[in-house]
């Protein structure tokens, strides 16, 4: 764990159905309000979470999300970790390209979500799953 990084108590939510994507949005909204993100930053983070939760469901075959408030001593923020044990992403660079999709969507989920947050990390292995961590800091 990063030195000097304060972590709140993580809240988890399973993603196994359509209705869980709605629950993830609501959970992220609640935590973002508690972390005092601005309205625009809340909106960006909830939108990114919605995209990533849908990816976890559609491409990862379901998984879970963990939402935590973080504090780096100067600013508060929200960290969200999406984990699935799905097929993984064979070509990460391609998957992060605007307009690329294998699922019939617009191909903006992953690339768009990355633009909406401050920090974006993706760990993926074919056949093992994907773990995406995003952080949004208050300004």
């Amino acid at each position: 764990m990063t030195a000097g990084l304060g972590l709140g108590r993580p809240q988890t939510q399973a993603i196994v159905g359509d209705e869980d994507v709605v629950r993830v949005r609501q959970l992220v909204r609640t935590v973002a309000v508690a972390a005092k993100l601005s309205l625009v930053d809340q909106t960006k983070l909830v939108t990114a979470a919605s995209e990533l939760a849908r990816n976890t469901l559609v491409y990862g075959g379901g998984g879970q999300v963990e939402v935590t408030t973080v504090d780096n001593g100067r600013r508060q923020g929200v960290r969200i970790v999406f984990t699935d044990s799905g097929p993984g992403i064979p070509d990460l660079e391609l998957a992060l390209t605007d307009g690329y999709t294998t699922g019939g969507g617009l191909g903006l989920g992953l690339s768009g979500a990355r633009r909406l947050v401050d920090e974006f990390d993706i760990q993926t292995a074919v056949g093992q799953g994907t773990r995406i961590t995003v952080t949004k800091w208050s300004r």
């Binding site: 359509d18 609501q26 309205l39 909106t43 960006k44 939108t47 919605s50 969507g105 617009l106």
Partner: protein, 139 residues
């Protein structure tokens, strides 16, 4: 799964989305609207998203699809009431909402539809004058 109600007001169908929609609810709305346009012969659709605190790529695509479906069914779609934070987020996400007309509120949306119907009517009159033979056969 909840359903979004579609209201008929004169020549216009009004949809006010008041809930955090599951993806299936959004897809159902597309079908419901197509059915109602054909059943009522309405020439305008207003989708009020005042209550939506986010529009992600899925809902964005739904709006574009509804506009396209309406168009081939001879109806004009106007999306009204987008919150400023939602607009900022949409642009950053990379969604352009191609083919969608927007207005600030329901009233202006209705004016927009009325104005565009007038244009269409004028055009029809011009055609009749230009080619009386065709006008005669079409009546």
């Amino acid at each position: 799964m909840e359903r979004v109600p579609v209201l008929k007001i004169g020549d216009i169908l009004l949809v006010s989305i008041q809930l955090d929609m599951e993806d299936q609810t959004a897809l159902q709305l597309q079908e419901d609207l197509a059915d109602r346009i054909v059943a009522t012969g309405c020439h305008g659709v207003i989708i009020d998203i005042t209550a939506l605190d986010i529009v992600d790529s899925f809902v964005g695509r739904m709006l574009s699809t509804i506009a396209a479906i309406s168009k081939v069914l001879d109806a004009e779609t106007v999306v009204v009431g987008m919150r400023p934070a939602v607009a900022i987020t949409l642009v950053e996400l990379g969604l352009s909402l191609n083919g969608i007309r927007t207005a600030l509120n329901v009233e202006r949306g209705m004016e927009l539809i009325a104005a565009s119907r007038e244009e269409t009517d004028d055009w029809a009159v011009d055609l009749d004058e230009a080619d009386p033979g065709q006008a005669a056969t079409s009546t």
